[in-house]
Protein backbone atom coordinates (compact mmCIF):
# COMPACT_ATOMS: atom_id res chain seq x y z
CA UNK A 1 0.00 0.00 0.00
CA UNK A 2 2.86 2.37 0.76
CA UNK A 3 3.85 2.14 -2.93
CA UNK A 4 0.46 3.49 -3.74
CA UNK A 5 0.58 6.54 -1.50
CA UNK A 6 4.09 7.47 -2.65
CA UNK A 7 2.94 7.67 -6.30
CA UNK A 8 -0.20 9.65 -5.51
CA UNK A 9 1.84 12.30 -3.57
CA UNK A 10 4.27 12.40 -6.50
CA UNK A 11 1.37 12.77 -8.96
CA UNK A 12 -0.34 15.57 -7.09
CA UNK A 13 2.90 17.57 -6.73
CA UNK A 14 3.81 17.19 -10.44
CA UNK A 15 0.41 18.21 -11.76
CA UNK A 16 0.45 21.34 -9.54
CA UNK A 17 3.69 22.45 -11.12
CA UNK A 18 2.31 21.82 -14.64
CA UNK A 19 -1.03 23.47 -13.89
CA UNK A 20 0.72 26.69 -12.99
CA UNK A 21 2.30 26.98 -16.37
CA UNK A 22 -0.90 26.07 -18.24
CA UNK A 23 -2.67 29.22 -19.60
CA UNK A 24 -5.40 30.27 -17.18
CA UNK A 25 -8.56 29.93 -19.27
CA UNK A 26 -7.97 26.25 -20.32
CA UNK A 27 -9.93 24.19 -17.84
CA UNK A 28 -9.07 20.51 -18.11
CA UNK A 29 -8.75 18.01 -15.36
CA UNK A 30 -5.78 15.78 -15.98
CA UNK A 31 -6.75 12.24 -16.85
CA UNK A 32 -4.87 10.77 -13.92
CA UNK A 33 -6.12 13.18 -11.30
CA UNK A 34 -9.81 12.25 -11.33
CA UNK A 35 -9.43 8.52 -10.52
CA UNK A 36 -7.07 9.33 -7.68
CA UNK A 37 -9.43 11.89 -6.22
CA UNK A 38 -12.30 9.45 -6.57
CA UNK A 39 -10.30 6.80 -4.70
CA UNK A 40 -9.27 9.21 -1.96
CA UNK A 41 -12.88 10.38 -1.61
CA UNK A 42 -14.12 6.81 -1.25
CA UNK A 43 -11.44 6.06 1.35
CA UNK A 44 -12.24 9.16 3.40
CA UNK A 45 -15.93 8.24 3.40
CA UNK A 46 -15.05 4.76 4.79
CA UNK A 47 -12.87 6.27 7.49
CA UNK A 48 -15.46 8.85 8.50
CA UNK A 49 -18.35 6.37 8.45
CA UNK A 50 -18.12 5.59 12.14
CA UNK A 51 -19.18 9.09 13.18
CA UNK A 52 -22.87 9.62 13.72
CA UNK A 53 -24.67 9.21 10.41
CA UNK A 54 -26.37 12.28 9.02
CA UNK A 55 -30.15 12.22 9.52
CA UNK A 56 -32.00 12.10 6.19
CA UNK A 57 -34.15 15.06 7.25
CA UNK A 58 -31.11 17.33 7.29
CA UNK A 59 -30.54 16.82 3.52
CA UNK A 60 -31.43 19.53 1.06
CA UNK A 61 -33.97 17.30 -0.74
CA UNK A 62 -36.34 16.90 2.13
CA UNK A 63 -40.00 17.97 2.34
CA UNK A 64 -41.66 16.80 5.53
CA UNK A 65 -45.24 17.22 4.39
CA UNK A 66 -44.83 15.26 1.19
CA UNK A 67 -42.95 12.55 3.10
CA UNK A 68 -45.82 12.20 5.58
CA UNK A 69 -48.36 12.24 2.76
CA UNK A 70 -46.40 9.52 0.90
CA UNK A 71 -46.11 7.48 4.09
CA UNK A 72 -49.90 7.41 4.42
CA UNK A 73 -50.41 6.52 0.79
CA UNK A 74 -47.73 3.85 0.86
CA UNK A 75 -49.70 1.85 3.44
CA UNK A 76 -52.75 2.14 1.13
CA UNK A 77 -54.61 3.98 3.88
CA UNK A 78 -56.05 7.47 3.78
CA UNK A 79 -55.11 9.14 7.05
CA UNK A 80 -56.11 12.70 7.69
CA UNK A 81 -52.77 14.41 7.61
CA UNK A 82 -53.08 16.39 10.81
CA UNK A 83 -53.56 13.33 13.04
CA UNK A 84 -50.86 11.52 11.08
CA UNK A 85 -48.41 14.36 11.69
CA UNK A 86 -49.44 14.42 15.31
CA UNK A 87 -48.67 10.68 15.53
CA UNK A 88 -45.04 11.35 14.66
CA UNK A 89 -44.49 14.05 17.28
CA UNK A 90 -43.28 12.72 20.59
CA UNK A 91 -43.56 14.55 23.92
CA UNK A 92 -39.78 14.45 24.28
CA UNK A 93 -39.55 16.54 21.07
CA UNK A 94 -41.89 19.16 22.48
CA UNK A 95 -39.95 19.49 25.77
CA UNK A 96 -36.76 19.76 23.71
CA UNK A 97 -38.35 22.56 21.62
CA UNK A 98 -39.43 24.38 24.74
CA UNK A 99 -36.01 24.52 26.41
CA UNK A 100 -34.41 25.44 23.07
CA UNK A 101 -36.81 28.38 22.81
CA UNK A 102 -36.06 29.21 26.46
CA UNK A 103 -32.38 29.40 25.67
CA UNK A 104 -33.22 31.76 22.81
CA UNK A 105 -34.88 33.99 25.39
CA UNK A 106 -38.61 33.62 24.49
CA UNK A 107 -40.37 33.58 27.91
CA UNK A 108 -43.62 31.70 27.23
CA UNK A 109 -42.79 29.29 24.48
CA UNK A 110 -45.96 28.18 22.74
CA UNK A 111 -45.69 25.31 20.33
CA UNK A 112 -48.52 24.60 17.96
CA UNK A 113 -47.52 20.88 17.85
CA UNK A 114 -49.39 18.40 20.08
CA UNK A 115 -47.70 15.23 21.23
CA UNK A 116 -49.06 11.76 20.46
CA UNK A 117 -49.47 10.34 23.97
CA UNK A 118 -53.25 9.99 23.71
CA UNK A 119 -52.85 8.24 20.34
CA UNK A 120 -50.33 5.85 21.84
CA UNK A 121 -52.66 4.70 24.64
CA UNK A 122 -55.57 4.27 22.20
CA UNK A 123 -53.32 2.33 19.84
CA UNK A 124 -52.12 0.11 22.66
CA UNK A 125 -55.61 -0.92 23.64
CA UNK A 126 -56.78 -1.45 20.06
CA UNK A 127 -53.72 -3.51 19.16
CA UNK A 128 -54.16 -5.75 22.20
CA UNK A 129 -57.88 -6.37 21.47
CA UNK A 130 -57.44 -7.11 17.78
CA UNK A 131 -54.46 -9.42 18.26
CA UNK A 132 -56.16 -11.47 21.00
CA UNK A 133 -59.37 -11.66 18.92
CA UNK A 134 -57.39 -12.80 15.86
CA UNK A 135 -55.54 -15.46 17.85
CA UNK A 136 -58.62 -16.78 19.62
CA UNK A 137 -60.39 -17.07 16.28
CA UNK A 138 -57.61 -18.93 14.51
CA UNK A 139 -56.36 -21.06 17.45
CA UNK A 140 -59.55 -22.22 19.20
CA UNK A 141 -58.00 -25.20 21.04
CA UNK A 142 -55.06 -23.33 22.59
CA UNK A 143 -55.39 -22.54 26.33
CA UNK A 144 -55.35 -18.90 27.53
CA UNK A 145 -51.79 -19.14 28.73
CA UNK A 146 -50.73 -19.91 25.15
CA UNK A 147 -52.77 -17.06 23.69
CA UNK A 148 -51.24 -14.67 26.25
CA UNK A 149 -47.76 -15.84 25.30
CA UNK A 150 -48.42 -15.25 21.59
CA UNK A 151 -49.95 -11.80 22.18
CA UNK A 152 -47.04 -10.68 24.36
CA UNK A 153 -44.67 -11.87 21.64
CA UNK A 154 -46.56 -10.03 18.89
CA UNK A 155 -46.96 -6.82 20.86
CA UNK A 156 -43.45 -6.82 22.33
CA UNK A 157 -41.38 -3.64 21.99
CA UNK A 158 -38.69 -5.26 19.84
CA UNK A 159 -41.27 -6.74 17.44
CA UNK A 160 -43.11 -3.45 17.03
CA UNK A 161 -39.81 -1.58 16.62
CA UNK A 162 -38.76 -3.87 13.74
CA UNK A 163 -42.15 -3.42 12.06
CA UNK A 164 -42.17 0.36 12.31
CA UNK A 165 -38.53 0.59 11.14
CA UNK A 166 -39.47 -1.44 8.07
CA UNK A 167 -42.49 0.77 7.39
CA UNK A 168 -40.14 3.74 7.11
CA UNK A 169 -41.09 5.75 10.21
CA UNK A 170 -37.41 6.24 11.17
CA UNK A 171 -36.91 9.44 9.16
CA UNK A 172 -40.29 10.96 10.03
CA UNK A 173 -40.15 10.66 13.80
CA UNK A 174 -39.76 13.97 15.61
CA UNK A 175 -38.20 13.13 18.97
CA UNK A 176 -34.92 13.82 20.72
CA UNK A 177 -33.46 10.32 20.41
CA UNK A 178 -34.79 7.37 18.42
CA UNK A 179 -34.62 4.00 20.13
CA UNK A 180 -36.78 0.87 20.06
CA UNK A 181 -39.27 2.36 22.46
CA UNK A 182 -39.92 5.47 20.39
CA UNK A 183 -40.24 3.35 17.25
CA UNK A 184 -42.76 1.04 18.96
CA UNK A 185 -44.69 4.02 20.33
CA UNK A 186 -44.84 5.61 16.89
CA UNK A 187 -46.43 2.44 15.51
CA UNK A 188 -48.99 2.49 18.34
CA UNK A 189 -49.67 6.13 17.63
CA UNK A 190 -50.16 5.27 13.96
CA UNK A 191 -52.74 2.66 14.91
CA UNK A 192 -54.51 5.23 17.08
CA UNK A 193 -54.37 7.80 14.27
CA UNK A 194 -55.74 5.29 11.78
CA UNK A 195 -58.55 4.41 14.15
CA UNK A 196 -59.40 8.10 14.47
CA UNK A 197 -59.28 8.78 10.76
CA UNK A 198 -60.85 5.65 9.22
CA UNK A 199 -62.57 3.58 11.90
CA UNK A 200 -62.52 -0.04 13.08
CA UNK A 201 -62.51 -1.97 9.84
CA UNK A 202 -59.38 -0.32 8.46
CA UNK A 203 -57.51 -0.46 11.77
CA UNK A 204 -58.21 -4.15 12.11
CA UNK A 205 -56.98 -4.80 8.56
CA UNK A 206 -53.83 -2.73 9.31
CA UNK A 207 -53.13 -4.72 12.50
CA UNK A 208 -53.80 -8.02 10.76
CA UNK A 209 -51.62 -7.18 7.73
CA UNK A 210 -48.60 -5.85 9.56
CA UNK A 211 -48.52 -7.30 13.04
CA UNK A 212 -50.35 -10.63 12.89
CA UNK A 213 -48.51 -11.64 9.73
CA UNK A 214 -45.33 -11.86 11.81
CA UNK A 215 -46.67 -15.34 12.76
CA UNK A 216 -46.46 -16.53 9.15
CA UNK A 217 -44.62 -19.90 9.08
CA UNK A 218 -43.42 -19.29 12.64
CA UNK A 219 -42.78 -22.31 14.87
CA UNK A 220 -45.25 -21.53 17.66
CA UNK A 221 -43.31 -23.71 20.09
CA UNK A 222 -40.37 -21.27 19.99
CA UNK A 223 -42.69 -18.52 21.26
CA UNK A 224 -44.53 -20.51 23.92
CA UNK A 225 -42.17 -23.07 25.50
CA UNK A 226 -44.06 -25.74 27.43
CA UNK A 227 -42.16 -26.39 30.68
CA UNK A 228 -42.06 -29.97 32.01
CA UNK A 229 -43.96 -31.32 28.99
CA UNK A 230 -44.59 -34.88 30.20
CA UNK A 231 -46.33 -33.75 33.41
CA UNK A 232 -48.50 -31.27 31.52
CA UNK A 233 -49.37 -34.01 29.02
CA UNK A 234 -50.39 -36.31 31.86
CA UNK A 235 -52.53 -33.58 33.45
CA UNK A 236 -54.06 -32.79 30.03
CA UNK A 237 -54.95 -36.47 29.55
CA UNK A 238 -56.51 -36.61 33.05
CA UNK A 239 -58.65 -33.55 32.33
CA UNK A 240 -59.89 -34.91 29.01
CA UNK A 241 -60.51 -38.38 30.46
CA UNK A 242 -57.90 -40.01 28.17
CA UNK A 243 -55.95 -43.05 29.40
CA UNK A 244 -52.72 -42.30 31.25
CA UNK A 245 -49.92 -41.87 28.64
CA UNK A 246 -47.11 -44.44 28.68
CA UNK A 247 -43.91 -44.29 26.68
CA UNK A 248 -42.39 -47.08 24.64
CA UNK A 249 -39.08 -47.11 22.74
CA UNK A 250 -40.05 -47.66 19.10
CA UNK A 251 -36.55 -47.49 17.66
CA UNK A 252 -32.96 -46.93 18.68
CA UNK A 253 -29.66 -46.69 16.84
CA UNK A 254 -26.09 -47.08 18.10
CA UNK A 255 -27.25 -47.10 21.71
CA UNK A 256 -23.80 -47.80 23.26
CA UNK A 257 -22.10 -44.95 21.42
CA UNK A 258 -22.08 -41.21 21.91
CA UNK A 259 -24.17 -40.62 18.77
CA UNK A 260 -27.06 -42.70 20.06
CA UNK A 261 -30.58 -41.78 18.89
CA UNK A 262 -33.86 -42.98 20.36
CA UNK A 263 -37.34 -42.95 18.86
CA UNK A 264 -39.98 -42.95 21.58
CA UNK A 265 -43.73 -43.22 21.10
CA UNK A 266 -46.32 -42.18 23.68
CA UNK A 267 -49.42 -44.36 23.74
CA UNK A 268 -52.69 -43.82 25.59
CA UNK A 269 -54.73 -46.99 25.53
CA UNK A 270 -52.69 -48.46 22.68
CA UNK A 271 -53.27 -45.45 20.41
CA UNK A 272 -50.12 -43.63 19.37
CA UNK A 273 -50.63 -40.01 20.36
CA UNK A 274 -47.11 -38.67 19.84
CA UNK A 275 -43.64 -39.81 18.75
CA UNK A 276 -40.38 -37.99 19.32
CA UNK A 277 -36.64 -38.38 18.87
CA UNK A 278 -33.72 -37.63 21.17
CA UNK A 279 -30.11 -38.46 21.93
CA UNK A 280 -31.24 -40.23 25.08
CA UNK A 281 -34.55 -41.61 26.25
CA UNK A 282 -35.42 -38.64 28.50
CA UNK A 283 -35.10 -36.01 25.76
CA UNK A 284 -36.97 -38.36 23.41
CA UNK A 285 -39.83 -38.55 25.94
CA UNK A 286 -39.84 -34.76 26.31
CA UNK A 287 -40.01 -34.19 22.55
CA UNK A 288 -42.69 -36.87 22.14
CA UNK A 289 -44.85 -35.31 24.84
CA UNK A 290 -44.35 -31.81 23.39
CA UNK A 291 -45.47 -33.10 20.00
CA UNK A 292 -48.46 -34.86 21.54
CA UNK A 293 -49.48 -31.69 23.42
CA UNK A 294 -49.09 -29.58 20.32
CA UNK A 295 -51.27 -31.99 18.38
CA UNK A 296 -53.99 -31.72 21.03
CA UNK A 297 -53.75 -27.91 21.08
CA UNK A 298 -53.83 -27.88 17.29
CA UNK A 299 -50.56 -25.95 16.95
CA UNK A 300 -48.37 -28.78 15.61
CA UNK A 301 -46.00 -27.57 12.88
CA UNK A 302 -48.26 -29.05 10.17
CA UNK A 303 -51.30 -27.28 11.62
CA UNK A 304 -53.72 -25.39 9.42
CA UNK A 305 -51.87 -22.18 8.42
CA UNK A 306 -53.16 -18.80 9.68
CA UNK A 307 -55.72 -17.29 7.33
CA UNK A 308 -54.45 -13.73 6.85
CA UNK A 309 -57.29 -12.83 4.57
CA UNK A 310 -60.26 -13.00 7.01
CA UNK A 311 -62.27 -9.79 7.34
CA UNK A 312 -63.64 -8.11 10.47
CA UNK A 313 -67.30 -9.04 9.97
CA UNK A 314 -66.60 -12.68 10.85
CA UNK A 315 -68.37 -14.04 13.94
CA UNK A 316 -65.66 -12.89 16.33
CA UNK A 317 -66.17 -9.22 15.44
CA UNK A 318 -68.95 -8.81 18.06
CA UNK A 319 -66.49 -9.91 20.72
CA UNK A 320 -64.14 -7.13 19.58
CA UNK A 321 -66.96 -4.64 19.72
CA UNK A 322 -67.87 -5.81 23.22
CA UNK A 323 -64.52 -5.06 24.74
CA UNK A 324 -63.55 -2.57 21.96
Amino acid sequence: MSFYFKTSRLLVSRCNSIALQVPKNVRNIKRWVAPTLRELNKRSKNVSSNEEIQKRSTFIEWNYNSEVFAFGKRLQENFNLVTLQRAFVHSSFITQEENRQKQLGIENPEIMLQDNDSLITAGQRLLFDYVTAFLEHSLPKVPDEGIRAFTTYLTSISNLAVISKNLGTFDLILSDNIDDLTLANTLLALIGALHESSGDEKTYLFVRDFICTQLNQKDLYEIWEISSPFESLRSYCLQNKLAVPECRIIGETAKNTVLSAFHVGIYSKKILIGQGFGEDVETAIQTASIKALRKFYGISDNMRPFDFRIKLENKYSEKVKLNG
Partner: protein
Protein backbone atom coordinates in the same frame (compact mmCIF):
# COMPACT_ATOMS: atom_id res chain seq x y z
CA UNK B 1 11.96 30.99 -22.46
CA UNK B 2 9.94 27.90 -21.65
CA UNK B 3 7.80 26.37 -24.47
CA UNK B 4 4.74 25.20 -22.54
CA UNK B 5 2.41 24.09 -25.33
CA UNK B 6 4.76 21.34 -26.62
CA UNK B 7 4.55 19.58 -23.25
CA UNK B 8 0.84 19.07 -23.74
CA UNK B 9 1.28 17.02 -26.88
CA UNK B 10 3.74 14.51 -25.38
CA UNK B 11 1.88 11.21 -24.84
CA UNK B 12 1.93 10.78 -21.03
CA UNK B 13 1.32 7.02 -20.82
CA UNK B 14 2.16 6.33 -17.17
CA UNK B 15 -0.72 6.70 -14.67
CA UNK B 16 -3.77 5.39 -16.63
CA UNK B 17 -2.18 2.02 -16.96
CA UNK B 18 -1.98 2.07 -13.17
CA UNK B 19 -5.73 2.42 -12.91
CA UNK B 20 -6.46 -0.19 -15.57
CA UNK B 21 -4.56 -2.72 -13.48
CA UNK B 22 -6.68 -1.83 -10.40
CA UNK B 23 -9.63 -3.50 -12.12
CA UNK B 24 -7.71 -6.78 -12.34
CA UNK B 25 -6.28 -6.53 -8.82
CA UNK B 26 -9.77 -5.97 -7.43
CA UNK B 27 -10.80 -9.37 -8.84
CA UNK B 28 -7.60 -11.02 -7.60
CA UNK B 29 -7.71 -9.59 -4.07
CA UNK B 30 -8.52 -12.96 -2.49
CA UNK B 31 -5.94 -15.03 -4.34
CA UNK B 32 -2.99 -16.61 -2.63
CA UNK B 33 0.61 -15.39 -3.00
CA UNK B 34 2.00 -13.57 -6.03
CA UNK B 35 -1.22 -13.67 -8.15
CA UNK B 36 -2.58 -11.22 -5.57
CA UNK B 37 0.25 -8.69 -5.97
CA UNK B 38 1.96 -9.14 -9.32
CA UNK B 39 -0.03 -8.02 -12.37
CA UNK B 40 1.25 -10.64 -14.88
CA UNK B 41 0.29 -13.48 -12.52
CA UNK B 42 -2.91 -11.76 -11.46
CA UNK B 43 -4.19 -11.43 -15.02
CA UNK B 44 -3.72 -15.10 -15.75
CA UNK B 45 -5.29 -16.16 -12.49
CA UNK B 46 -8.25 -13.80 -13.00
CA UNK B 47 -8.88 -15.04 -16.52
CA UNK B 48 -8.71 -18.62 -15.28
CA UNK B 49 -11.08 -17.79 -12.44
CA UNK B 50 -13.59 -16.10 -14.76
CA UNK B 51 -13.51 -19.07 -17.18
CA UNK B 52 -14.07 -21.41 -14.24
CA UNK B 53 -16.99 -19.26 -13.05
CA UNK B 54 -18.62 -19.34 -16.48
CA UNK B 55 -18.17 -23.09 -16.88
CA UNK B 56 -19.10 -23.67 -13.25
CA UNK B 57 -22.61 -22.32 -13.77
CA UNK B 58 -23.26 -25.14 -16.25
CA UNK B 59 -21.52 -27.75 -14.12
CA UNK B 60 -23.59 -26.83 -11.07
CA UNK B 61 -26.77 -27.78 -12.89
CA UNK B 62 -25.30 -31.13 -13.96
CA UNK B 63 -23.99 -31.92 -10.46
CA UNK B 64 -27.36 -31.10 -8.92
CA UNK B 65 -29.12 -33.40 -11.41
CA UNK B 66 -26.71 -36.19 -10.53
CA UNK B 67 -27.22 -35.65 -6.81
CA UNK B 68 -31.00 -35.78 -7.22
CA UNK B 69 -30.62 -39.02 -9.17
CA UNK B 70 -28.59 -40.67 -6.40
CA UNK B 71 -31.08 -39.50 -3.79
CA UNK B 72 -34.14 -40.73 -5.68
CA UNK B 73 -32.53 -44.08 -6.49
CA UNK B 74 -31.50 -44.43 -2.82
CA UNK B 75 -35.03 -43.84 -1.56
CA UNK B 76 -36.66 -45.94 -4.32
CA UNK B 77 -34.31 -48.84 -3.44
CA UNK B 78 -35.84 -48.81 0.03
CA UNK B 79 -39.04 -50.01 -1.67
CA UNK B 80 -37.22 -52.44 -3.96
CA UNK B 81 -37.69 -50.41 -7.15
CA UNK B 82 -34.68 -49.42 -9.25
CA UNK B 83 -34.41 -45.82 -10.42
CA UNK B 84 -35.15 -46.57 -14.09
CA UNK B 85 -38.16 -48.76 -13.24
CA UNK B 86 -39.37 -46.01 -10.88
CA UNK B 87 -39.02 -43.19 -13.40
CA UNK B 88 -40.42 -45.21 -16.34
CA UNK B 89 -43.46 -46.45 -14.50
CA UNK B 90 -44.22 -42.93 -13.17
CA UNK B 91 -43.97 -41.64 -16.71
CA UNK B 92 -46.18 -44.47 -17.97
CA UNK B 93 -48.82 -43.60 -15.38
CA UNK B 94 -48.66 -40.01 -16.63
CA UNK B 95 -47.05 -38.45 -13.52
CA UNK B 96 -44.61 -35.78 -14.73
CA UNK B 97 -42.68 -34.98 -11.50
CA UNK B 98 -39.04 -34.20 -12.23
CA UNK B 99 -36.00 -35.51 -10.34
CA UNK B 100 -35.73 -32.41 -8.13
CA UNK B 101 -39.29 -32.85 -6.92
CA UNK B 102 -38.91 -36.58 -6.35
CA UNK B 103 -35.76 -35.94 -4.30
CA UNK B 104 -37.54 -33.22 -2.27
CA UNK B 105 -40.48 -35.52 -1.62
CA UNK B 106 -38.14 -38.37 -0.66
CA UNK B 107 -36.48 -36.22 2.00
CA UNK B 108 -39.26 -33.98 3.30
CA UNK B 109 -42.48 -35.96 2.62
CA UNK B 110 -41.69 -39.69 3.06
CA UNK B 111 -45.37 -40.71 3.06
CA UNK B 112 -46.08 -39.11 -0.32
CA UNK B 113 -42.94 -40.71 -1.67
CA UNK B 114 -44.11 -44.07 -0.35
CA UNK B 115 -47.41 -43.64 -2.23
CA UNK B 116 -45.50 -42.88 -5.44
CA UNK B 117 -43.16 -45.84 -4.87
CA UNK B 118 -45.97 -48.38 -4.31
CA UNK B 119 -47.81 -47.00 -7.36
CA UNK B 120 -44.73 -47.29 -9.57
CA UNK B 121 -43.88 -50.74 -8.19
CA UNK B 122 -47.28 -52.14 -9.06
CA UNK B 123 -47.17 -50.55 -12.49
CA UNK B 124 -43.66 -51.93 -13.13
CA UNK B 125 -44.71 -55.48 -12.22
CA UNK B 126 -47.77 -55.31 -14.49
CA UNK B 127 -45.68 -53.92 -17.37
CA UNK B 128 -42.95 -56.47 -16.75
CA UNK B 129 -40.13 -53.98 -16.27
CA UNK B 130 -36.79 -55.32 -14.98
CA UNK B 131 -35.32 -53.96 -11.74
CA UNK B 132 -38.01 -55.02 -9.27
CA UNK B 133 -36.71 -56.73 -6.17
CA UNK B 134 -38.71 -58.43 -3.46
CA UNK B 135 -38.80 -56.40 -0.28
CA UNK B 136 -39.08 -57.62 3.24
CA UNK B 137 -42.41 -56.93 4.94
CA UNK B 138 -40.60 -54.47 7.25
CA UNK B 139 -40.50 -51.69 4.67
CA UNK B 140 -43.48 -49.43 5.37
CA UNK B 141 -43.73 -45.96 6.93
CA UNK B 142 -44.32 -46.47 10.67
CA UNK B 143 -47.47 -44.92 12.00
CA UNK B 144 -49.43 -45.29 8.77
CA UNK B 145 -52.04 -47.20 10.71
CA UNK B 146 -53.27 -44.21 12.68
CA UNK B 147 -53.63 -42.09 9.59
CA UNK B 148 -57.14 -40.99 8.68
CA UNK B 149 -58.34 -42.99 11.63
CA UNK B 150 -61.61 -41.04 11.77
Amino acid sequence: MVFTSAALFVRARGPDEFWRKRRVFKLAAHFHGRPRNVYTFAVRAVHRALVYATKGRKLKKLDMAELWKTRVSASAEQYGVSFDAFKNSLLKSNILLNKKMLADLAIWEPRSFEALAQLSRERAVVEGMPGIQERSVMNQVYGLKNLLKK
